[in-house]
């Protein structure tokens, strides 16, 4: 097993790919731009799914499944939508040995096919709100791909809702943004900034798009989830109408929202270090790894009996693994499980057995600082408490990193220096030309216009015109 990860400071981009591949989260597939999500990565995705699915269901949405293929004519019904997605489509032209009369698009997102069904299902105001979520794969033909961050095929959940009023749709859109916000911070320990996307960055076909933006370890931004207010942009071309309480035909108001396997990339980049992954305990496939240390048969028996006690004490309540392999040394195992990002290691040697204790080593505090010895009979309360502390610490230090690397420039010169190595929070006029020029000059884009706005107003950081909102600018993934 060639475990070599280049230091983050030396080459952040290669560090990322090394970590993803060496820890066996994912691998490149022999298909252009596609990845294989390996068991360790998929177990992380399953934990993400579980935590998010529960939250989605609590809002009243239900899961369903819609076809992978979308007739080409459907994609073309909403003008902005087709313009935005056309360059990225994969097209099925042959099926069952014959050329198809109408080519089928492999879904890049499912607004069109889902709304075609909504038009059939929605008849009366009693059928509303209609709130449906789908976990599935989607395909977008990407030019430059990177494991998890940008792949031709990826996994996600996409929610699609229909409401009787514009206000209700806006509320739903914000509710889901808050669900993502809560999930990101409380499950993944990834602090995020929720806000509105600029006109240029919004979803093709949306009235307004919102996102949560996170800061990676190299101080670049990553859009970690999106929630869109679609207005009646799809309701009209797809004819989603209902009879209201006055028996009049009305178009519905809609939202859509999604979070993808890209989020795994965010977890890697927000928490990881030169040793490899650091996984937040709530989502880690393995929360605790137990490494026995012994020499000779007598010690082995004593130590393994203690290991068994630990497994019995914690194994039912935590995702715990015992590494009892005899072909590797304890030192090798320490490195291995550190690289894999397991939040907590339990070491048990002959002296620990004698003293009725074990050694706990935190992944988030390397070396001596992160080690404590704990009496065997205190494990049941101490280990879960320690995992909670690790979870809280990861969030706190990521938030501190985000805050330390976000600044408010008062001049465009300052702005340029800030976005070269962090987030700039600046008054912005909202004009698309301004945005394009900023990007050309600094490579930074408007990440979002945060929901949380300061009082007052100020001059646009680029053009100096009066601005009513601040935006976050940064170079982004």
């Amino acid at each position: 097993m060639p475990e070599k990860i280049i230091p983050r400071s030396q080459d952040y981009s290669r560090w990322y790919t090394d970590v993803v591949q060496q820890t066996e989260l994912a691998d490149y597939a022999p298909v252009r731009g596609c990845m294989v999500i390996r068991p360790y990565g998929y177990a992380l995705w399953e934990n993400i799914q579980q935590a998010l699915d529960q939250r989605i269901k609590q809002t009243g949405a239900v899961n369903a499944y819609f076809p992978l293929f979308i007739p080409q004519s459907y994609i073309q019904r909403e003008a902005e939508h087709v313009k935005g997605f056309s360059p990225e489509l994969a097209v099925v032209t042959h099926g069952g040995g014959k050329e198809l009369e109408e080519p089928l698009i492999v879904r890049p997102t499912s607004e069109t096919i889902i709304n075609a069904m909504f038009a059939k299902w929605v008849q009366s105001y009693r059928d509303l709100p209609l709130m449906i979520n789908q976990w599935c794969n989607v395909v977008r033909w990407e030019m430059r791909t990177r494991l998890f961050l940008r792949t031709t095929e990826f996994l996600w959940q996409e929610g699609h809702t229909a409401h009787t009023t514009a206000e209700e749709a806006q509320e739903e859109m914000l509710r889901m943004l808050e669900v993502y916000h809560d999930f990101a911070e409380n499950e993944a320990a990834v602090p995020v900034l929720p806000g509105r996307k600029s006109e240029k960055e919004k979803f093709a076909g949306a009235v307004a798009s919102y996102s949560i933006e996170a800061m990676m370890g190299d101080k670049r931004a990553l859009q970690a989830a999106t929630s869109h207010n679609l207005g009646q942009n799809f309701a009209r071309p797809f004819g989603i109408q209902y009879l209201d309480q006055n028996n009049e035909l009305q178009y519905v108001w809609q939202t859509s929202w999604g979070l993808t396997t890209r989020f795994i990339g965010a977890i890697v980049m927000v928490h990881g270090d030169d040793q490899g992954l650091i996984l937040p305990p709530r989502l880690a496939p393995i929360q605790v790894v137990v490494v026995p240390i012994w020499r000779g048969e007598e010690q082995r028996q004593q130590v393994m009996a203690a290991v068994e006690r630990v497994r019995q004490t914690l194994g039912d309540r935590l995702r715990l693994e015992v590494d009892g392999r005899e072909e590797y040394t304890p030192g090798w195992k320490f490195n291995h499980w550190e690289m894999k990002g397991v939040p907590l290691r339990v070491e048990i040697g002959p002296r620990d057995v004698e003293q009725g204790q074990v050694m706990l080593a935190r992944r988030d505090r390397p070396g001596r600082k992160g080690k404590t010895s704990v009496p065997m009979d205190e494990l049941a309360p101490r280990v879960p408490a320690l995992l909670e502390d690790i979870q809280a610490n990861l969030l706190a230090r990521a938030r501190d990193f985000l805050e330390r690397n976000t600044a408010q420039p008062t001049s465009y010169e300052q702005f340029k220096a800030i976005v070269a190595d962090g987030f700039a929070q600046a008054w912005w006029c909202g004009d698309g030309n301004c945005e394009a020029q900023i990007q050309e000059e600094t490579q930074a884009t408007a990440r979002c216009i945060p929901l949380d706005q300061p009082e007052g107003s100020g001059p646009c950081i680029h053009c100096g015109q009066p601005a009513k909102e601040v935006a976050i600018f940064a170079r982004a993934y």
Copy 2:
């Protein structure tokens, strides 16, 4: 809501489609041969997934995700495989606005892409066994499609394993067949016959295929899951080799196994009746529905207070729904939830409140026979016990139906009469020509050669040649 289901006896095929559509399990999609799995159907699939996923993980297999697209050259590497699947492929020829150099196949099954990765991951005997499962969508271009039973796109899990010996692969194949057997009978209450497929019916590329076969309500057979012994048929073309303990290169031995959304069709057809669905309690999205009965505000308050007590008593432990809608009558609701197949209904009216009791109505025993009144304070133990009884009763009566409609013919004339309306268990020589002639003459095919074989031998039911095994013959979905 137009709730009309044609009686089973009148038109079984339309009855099936009516039930699936009227109960909102699934709907036809506006894409040829594809379906939409609606929330009620998807909730059933989620329960199937959960029950099966747990069993799969208990065998030591882990989940992962492989690409949707397979390079055409991969599909072509195993001769039988490409022959079997070629007529059913959907082909992506264009991506990102350009024609692809090599067309991509939308996976009909993933042996080829997964084994290409196995070749990379497997180096030493220490990497074996490798046992991986994937939950995903697959596409097979079908000519005649029916909701759940045969659709161009369907959902499934596909397991793929690699082992050091032929014996170990055979054991794994049988272990998974037993997992499906256990799942079908103990979760879905669908009795099945596990056995080996004939040469003609085996998976394209397998050394031997096994399946579980179930009997539908019209006495036709349905293949409910399959488990294949692939031998080294994929290991050789894909070069999956490992160094054994003597440091010699060896090819692995493999299996694959799968269960699809087709299984939902089996649940519908095995248990359903003229009123609609009857769902097995372990998998039912709603296990208990509570219908309040009242007139006027005073009664409403009393009844709804009792309903709330029922919810508090049972709601945490069971999937329970209260139908408090005021626009429908209790009678309408009884019919509605019977149609939806909810195993148990709780009725609460003013007289029940007075007497401190509720009325329970079993879905599996219509009318008075299935009704019992139960004191409020006995609900906590009685309702779960009743659900278990319903589960057991569904399995028992389906098994009885299977047994009553399976016969052992002693002549080919008898055989023909039996397969016209049931399963025939008959000595069979195993010859492909014999099988083809039987199918031509009776429309029945060899469903499987059951694992459970009688002693001795006999003359083949068709050609009279000595036969060592009995096979199940039936007309099949």
